[in-house]
């Protein structure tokens, strides 16, 4: 369970996020959606403490995100970004194991976990010794996901994880990810601008526009009871759904 209470974020005079209250359910997949600059990535970065809120407080499983708690909290959160953010100087395995090694986890336990993750993410074990430049875009995202899941986090945050992939790979990864979500039942927040992706993966969709939450609910809620003309406009703009 993640709670945002009157959280806002300003960059200088620009308001990235107006005062927002949001409660994200435990064990469910919540998708934040909207056009670029709507504040969806800002929320994710606030949750993991990469940004500090201008006002308000954020709590993760009851614990307030602050300068003193952020390090421990981050270790219980997995974070995957567009393009993966993999470390080019480390092999796939070293990327995945970096944090576990830093925390001096037992070697045998790490090895077992690594094999589990390969199966879970359909990553070939013989690719573990490759460097990021030697991997395809899809494989890089799989490694990034493995790295995020390594310490068995209670919360998984994904910021446009498929943004840079071609449609075929993207569709396949979406299916795999849905499987993983269903199996792990973690509290998951995914950011995307693609309504089809949101509809496919989300238990709940939160639609944002210009730094404010416009409506939140299931896809059906949004379609049948749009809270404003913008909601209808946004849904109609997604051609796949309009013809579906």
């Amino acid at each position: 369970m993640i709670e945002l209470e009157s959280v806002s974020k300003k960059f200088g005079t620009t308001i990235a996020l107006h005062e927002t209250d949001l409660s994200i359910d435990a064990g469910k997949t919540t998708v934040l959606i909207g056009s670029s600059g709507c504040g969806k990535s800002t929320i994710l970065r606030l949750i993991i403490g990469l940004l500090e809120p201008t006002t308000g407080t954020i709590r993760i499983e009851g614990q307030r995100v602050s300068a003193t708690s952020v390090l421990a909290l981050r270790r219980r959160i997995g974070y995957v970004i567009q393009e993966g953010g993999l470390f080019a100087h480390l092999t796939a395995a070293q990327n995945v194991l970096l944090m576990a090694k830093h925390l001096k986890r037992p070697v045998a336990q790490m090895e077992t976990r690594l094999r589990e993750l390969c199966q879970l993410t359909h990553f070939p074990e013989n690719g573990l010794q490759r460097y990021p430049v030697e991997l395809s875009g899809g494989q890089r995202q799989r490694v990034s996901l493995m790295r995020a899941l390594m310490l068995e986090p209670g919360v998984l945050l994904l910021d446009e994880p498929f943004g840079a992939l071609d449609p075929m790979v993207r569709a396949r990864l979406q299916e795999e990810l849905k499987e993983i979500f269903e199996r792990l039942r973690q509290t998951t927040v995914l950011v995307t601008h693609d309504m089809a992706e949101a509809a496919f993966l989300a238990d709940r969709i939160v639609l944002l526009n210009e730094g404010r939450i416009v409506q939140s609910g299931t896809l059906d809620d949004l379609r049948s009871r749009p809270a404003s003309p913008f909601v209808r406009e946004f849904l109609n703009a997604q051609r796949v759904l309009a013809t579906a």
Binding site: L71, L73, R74, Y79, E83, H89, L98, M99, H102, S144
Partner: protein, 487 residues
């Protein structure tokens, strides 16, 4: 009673004490080198261990080094002492000088014999052709090209007061190195230059010394200046040289030094010894220069890395502190190396020592290391920074486990640049008598002898290449493989 015994013990101890270490300095020209070797020879005969620091620089540097105790003695000229050290306009006798310097803790030996005065020289046939015999004749030839040593240009008994005394208004006066000036005179690039009256080049190049008809130049009698606190037996040994060197003998020793390129050999002529090479063969000498050179480059580069890396890390963050760091390093880089050495030498902690050379080289090595470290870190994509933070790594762990390895290629390139620059710049250490491969380059320049210059220049160039190759090996060891692969 007890104090008498104590006095006795001290006296006996002094008499029996083994002779100590003496450091002899010399200025950067042939005659001073030869006199330095002469002092070494008589002191070694008297049982002293002698360290000879040849070609340390000009008057002020040597005087400072003597006052600070970095050297025990060096050869000097009475005229120079009056003009440059005591700064008086009155002509002083050697006795006057001795009395004045005693107050500063410095002693003066008896005059060695010769008077090495300054003079203005021209090619004999050119002077004859223009009908110039004395300095006042120059008034009718304002268009002659004059090439003077930088020291003569600046001295109180140098060019400016001389032209005032003689009412000279020469159109074209420029500063040029002493030895290069002779070459310029020979090929006709200049018509007139300053010289010392015992200079072997005068006879060798068929030059004439213009008559000082208004008696401008003071007497330049050679003496040794020494610290009064050195062993009296050393002073006694030096005094043996007094009155033994007339102009002809000194000129011959200078000529021998220039002919053989070996100052110790020339000094040995004085004693009528069979020439022996004090410094061993060429290979040993080059080996010693290279070792010293590596020492200078290695120590300064080490400091550059130890201090430059943290500065670069700090400078990679945005803000005013970073600007200050980067612009300071940039400004240091623009100080000419000769000027930097000259600025450091008067600072008490530095003086004429390897520390000064190492510190100067360290300052020059900072900019490439600091800037490349800062740039390497700044170039890390935001996504990678976010990922490292989001994993829950502490800032220090982010730096060591992620950022520095990712920037290693750029950082190493900076260190490599510094190392190569330092191999070149370290040749200037010889200017302050610290040695290294600059030593043969400087004395070669001084002797106008290409062979001697090459003895330093070739190893220095090879060393730079070696450093380059060495770093390519290091690149492969230090830079993570993942950064070297092509997509």
């Amino acid at each position: 009673m007890r104090s008498t015994i104590a006095t006795l013990v001290v006296l006996v101890f002094c008499a029996a004490a083994p002779p100590k270490h003496v450091i002899v300095g010399s200025k950067k020209f042939t005659e001073s080198y030869v006199l330095g070797e002469l002092a070494r020879a008589v002191l070694q005969d008297a049982g002293f261990t002698v360290q000879l620091r040849q070609g340390m620089g000009g008057t002020i540097i040597l005087w400072q080094a003597l006052r600070d105790g970095q050297i025990s003695l060096y050869p000097e000229y009475t005229g120079t002492i009056g003009e440059e050290i005591l700064k008086t306009k009155e002509p002083l006798s050697t006795g006057d000088i001795r009395a004045l310097l005693r107050e500063q803790g410095i002693g003066v030996t008896g005059e060695l014999g010769f008077n090495n005065t300054y003079g203005l020289v021209m090619k004999r046939n050119r002077a004859a052709q223009l009908g110039i015999h004395k300095i006042s004749d120059l008034r009718q030839h304002a268009s002659l090209r004059v090439g003077l040593t930088h020291e003569f240009l600046d001295r109180q008994d140098g060019w400016a007061p001389l032209s005032r005394r003689y009412n000279l208004q020469m159109d074209d006066v420029r500063g040029i190195d002493h030895a290069l000036g002779y070459a310029a005179l020979a090929n006709g690039s200049i018509d007139l230059k300053d010289a010392y009256s015992t200079d072997a080049k005068i006879a060798e190049n068929d030059l004439v010394v213009l008559d000082d008809d208004l008696h401008f130049f003071p007497q330049y009698k050679a003496v040794f200046l020494y610290r009064l606190d050195i062993d009296p037996r050393a002073i006694a040994a030096l005094e043996k040289l007094a009155g033994t060197l007339d102009e002809a003998r000194m000129t011959r020793l200078n000529a021998e030094a220039e002919r053989t390129k070996d100052y110790a050999l020339a000094a040995a002529l004085y004693f009528g010894d069979a020439p022996t090479r004090a410094d061993g063969n060429l290979a040993t000498k080059i080996g010693r220069w290279i070792l010293r050179h590596l020492e200078l480059v290695g120590a300064s580069l080490f400091l550059g890395i130890v201090i430059g890396l943290p500065l670069g890390i700090r400078a990679s963050r945005p803000g005013p502190v970073s600007n200050v760091i980067l612009s300071t390093c940039g400004v240091i880089q623009t100080i000419p190396s000769l000027a930097l050495l000259a600025l450091l030498v008067p600072v008490p902690f530095f003086g004429i020592s390897p520390t000064t050379a190492i510190f100067a080289l360290f300052l020059y090595s900072l900019l490439p290391i600091v800037r490349n470290t800062a740039t390497g870190l700044q170039d890390i994509p935001a996504a990678v920074r976010d990922s490292a933070a989001a994993l829950g790594l502490e800032p220090r762990a982010q730096l060591w486990k992620v950022f520095l390895p990712l920037a290693s290629r750029t950082i190493l390139a900076g260190i490599k640049t510094s190392a190569i620059i330092n191999v070149g710049t370290a040749t200037l250490a010889a200017l302050i008598g610290v040695g290294g491969l600059g030593e043969p380059i400087l004395s070669g320049l001084n002797l106008n002898d290409a062979n001697t210059i090459l003895q330093g220049a070739i190893p220095a160039a090879l060393l730079a290449l070696l450093v380059q190759f060495g770093f390519e090996g290091l690149d492969r060891m230090v830079i993570p493989k993942g950064l070297l692969l092509k997509q």
